[in-house]
Point group: D2
Chain length 350, copies 4
């Protein structure tokens, strides 16, 4: 069968990437695309790269227009998707690319986001270790899915094998991410202007204020079985001059007494059967270019005994594996389709 | 008086930047520029931005040609400057931009560089805390100066105030640096091609192998009075698509019981009188664009109690404050000239 | 049926892109990948983005290893493919991404390339107007195909409708192209280093020396039925800091007496049924980002009566529509497969 | 003596660059900086690279605040500087970085800008040929100066020698410019976002609509003594991913019968005594990196007999030689100071 789809926020970066991937999905008919201020305009005015969707016009983002599809993607600013939830009660599958349904802890929501708290949905990172299984199992039966934060899923996938296996100490994690500006969306802010981005590296949300921190702590707690309170992370994102991509360098202390082989085995074991999360051979580390446009997370692992820390370097495309690809992969699971449909494992390089 | 100068390695990036800065120095006459394979060619063929030096021709890099100047700058690949040291015995001031004279520990040299070990020279980072004073004092009487490694001096300046004041624990430092490819020099390597650098973030020397690690440990040991062995650092550089610049994010555990005010005071006190190392106001963090072409290190400091770590973000231009500017600033000190002569505190932005 | 394929030059940019596209082609089995100095190494060492081909090892580029496949792609430096032609006499389909078989005029070959002249093969630009038909027709029965020069096909597609329709004067064309450095290949040249490419625009082959000039003249002569001698073009490529992409701005004098409608109709008529060459609506012009990774050429057309010139701005991905995509599209035609198989019309943006 | 200066539009790119250059000018005291919506904030919040001006606070842009200085720089959006002209009647020297006082033809103003027409001021391009002399002479006695449009002055300097000498035909000029986004100012437009600028080339104002066209025609008419109506130019700017810089490729037909030597002599003669406009040796062409931060225009000249066109490639830093540097150079002339004071001929590269 062919599933009818509506995508809201279709003029933005996350919405555009959902559409790019869906456009090559053989089981999907993109029936409706919506936006706010841009409603009434051709989609291609705002997404000029989506040539195969040149026939679509942006409609208003209203519950009425979104209702009546098999699948609805919400790619709205944080705090806005909650209002559509009730109206979409009859929609078989709803996938939210925003943050509204990611956190299980209202206290974390209040501390990092604020505004109305919404119930958590199935978290859209299939490869994430959860107890003795993977998040994939939950997604197979999900009807409401929260796509992950791009930085959060990158760091969580980086470290979950180590915390689950007990070979690293999750109480003193340090993550520093080189990120492209598309993760900040198509927002008109001076700091996001090309002249401010080109030729420079620019940190933001330094010192523990980034909204993805509680999401990482929640995911690593789920992976390890520990309480989120025990997971501490120093998290610093740095915007660098590439439109897309996250290169996350994460380090954590090595637990006393574990061997190099035990450490490496944790990651090997976690991802050996995965298509889209791959551990590189020893001594190899990924570049974001290797995963541009792909749904792949590439992981390089180093054991630094002098520093007594494991260093995990992970590359993802923030708009694919970090957002839209995670959403489509989760959709495939929920629909019982092959998990990798319409998703590429190969990047576009150079 | 006017000092005559020879610059070796003049066709490379470090040599070029030394020349750019010297070209506007009123007390300096650039008399001789040398290179290896490019000898005989006009300097401007290799440094087309140095229009005011269009009259200079690259000569061979030989002891004879370098001798007989008041000042000689060596901007050669690591391991090559030692051979010129003897021949320059009569030269009043020699400044090496390479690594050969930076390390005091032969064991560290052997472990990270190899080849002949050379005696350490005065370390060219004037603002660095050393015991109860600053490195500036040593430089005032120096006749042989080792300009610092760009990454090393950036991290050392970032953390020295905290370790000297005893407010952070130097036993578990984590530094991740976004760096431009010019730090790797004008080397013909596939990984340094534009197509490989554009649009991507690329880590290298992951897991404790970078050659600047012992230099950082040495500098922080000097700052704190502790032994280098006690200083442990997880160090990961990531090449990002900007020609110049280092944005170093360094974190270290907060020592038990110190207050936020005590932490901040350590950095304020260390740099309050400095022109070229500036602590930004609370909540402000630097971009590399802010120091492009300038001899300035800008430091932002965050205290992250949830992670129990201090986060220090420092921006420098790797070719200026990281190399050539440090060399000129040190030269000014050694010559008794105003320390800031020919050095700009303002960056070129956007 | 499934066709077996060998790709030579598989460690380079053109070879890598051919492999990226073929990897998702349902009728193709990539059996053999070859290289010169890199033979014996895993393909993925040189193409780390091609995760689905991680099982392949680079073999030597010899006639023996290339022979015995249904299809052979030659992605070799100019002048090197000729030597394999004889040995591949029994190969049903050979596609050369190099220049050796593009030019019909030995005089042009001698003037711009030199070395042995090889017979021309079917030119791999299906949408190109040739007399009253299109190049596609020739490709349907071709067994030897010359993929185009990326700059040449971009300019030829830009202007062929106008010269074929007689609305512009091909005697005084001016084309200036912003191009990414990947078009120059993975060559170890100082001018191609990241530090030399970032943050700067750099012209090359200024003043009529670029090797794609005779190829453009040949194509436009074929489109118009005129002699190549009558076609004159001022052609200047400028390398800009994007890994991929060509944005060609081409202008030509308007023929006296033609109306705006007649001009626009020439392009509309030429490309109205084409998937991969699209004329944008009036007042719209393309960006290279719109076609990144896609096989699409997007064309914007302006009629500047004050300057008495038509301005045509065309965006292509030099590695796809400019090289590898053109090769695959031509292959599809020669095999009788759907022309667009394994080729995307949508770009990857932002 | 020291001249007191006020700079309006100090939070923008042009204003920031004027301040960067003035900050190192020994005869200038920057007394007042003004802005509109940002008034009341520290200058360094908006210009974090101007460390030496950290003591300045942005004031309101009002005639009262701007009055009472020896020199006032207006760096305001086009159409806004006229309102301050009357109030600054007593100010000895006023320099407008906007367009309001550049055009001598009201018809051109009406066609390309609209709104109130203002009288033309002395045009701030000292090296521009004007009749038998240079624009410098007018500037020596000027009290009101219009700094040039960055694209306009680049193209005018490129071609003025040829049209003045009568060796090229100004009736069919074609110019295509690769430009950085800082030329568009710090405007909050989606097309100027980093995600839209990185990795792509983007044309704008295609087809004869760019506002710098009449300014070029006016300048070349002044150089040649011909009427502006006879000067026709096809002009296309393309935004490329570099924060600063213009690389202008301009071509014009060669006049029948002139020799190569005569052509080259026109440019050599025009600029042989100039510091800031330099003709490169035959076969050499400039990159924008060569002039980053410098007040230099570098010109490469090719004679393409096959195309019957001269090709002139010129690199400038749009914010320096294109705007702020031109303003300071003109100021120096008007004040009787050395023309090059506070202006660098050397670029910052790589």
């Amino acid at each position: 069968m062919t599933y009818s789809v509506a995508v809201s926020g279709a003029s933005g970066y996350a919405g555009g990437e959902i559409l790019r991937l869906l456009a090559s999905h053989p089981d999907i008919e993109i029936r409706t695309v919506t936006a706010h201020s841009n409603a009434g305009q051709p989609l291609v005015e705002h997404q000029p790269h989506l040539r195969s969707l040149a026939h679509l016009t942006l409609q208003d983002t209203t519950p009425e227009i979104l209702a009546g599809h098999d699948i609805v993607f919400l790619a709205l600013p944080h705090g806005q998707s909650g209002q559509y939830t009730d109206a979409l009660g009859a929609t078989p599958l709803v996938i939210d690319a925003g943050a509204d349904h990611r956190l299980t802890s209202q206290a974390s929501w209040d501390a990092f986001y604020g505004g109305d708290f919404h119930e958590p949905w199935a978290y859209g990172v299939p490869e994430l270790l959860v107890g003795g299984t993977k998040q994939r199992e939950t997604l197979r039966t999900a009807t409401r899915i929260a796509a992950p934060g791009c930085n959060a899923s990158t760091v969580s996938l980086s470290l979950a094998p180590g915390v689950a296996a007990g070979v690293i100490d999750s109480g003193d994690i340090v993550s520093v991410l080189a990120v492209g500006p598309s993760g900040a969306g198509k927002s008109l802010k001076t700091t996001l202007l090309g002249s401010e981005i080109l030729g420079t590296a620019n940190p933001y949300a330094v010192g523990g204020t980034h909204r993805h921190i509680p999401e990482i702590r929640q995911a690593l707690a789920a992976a390890s079985g520990a309480a989120p309170e025990g997971i501490r992370i120093s998290f610093t994102p740095v915007i660098v001059p590439m439109a897309r991509g996250i290169l996350a360098t994460s380090t954590a202390p090595i637990v006393d007494g574990v061997s190099d082989a035990e450490i490496r085995a944790a990651w090997e074991h976690a991802y050996e059967d995965e298509t889209f999360v791959q551990l590189l051979p020893e001594g190899h580390f990924p570049r974001t270019a290797d995963v541009l446009g792909a749904n792949t997370a590439l992981i390089g692992l180093a054991i630094d005994r002098a520093a007594n820390r494991v260093t995990v370097v992970t590359a993802v495309d923030n708009l694919v594996k970090g957002t839209a690809g995670a959403a489509i992969q989760s959709m495939n699971l929920a629909l019982g389709l092959p998990e990798s449909r319409a998703l590429s494992v190969n990047g576009v390089a150079p």
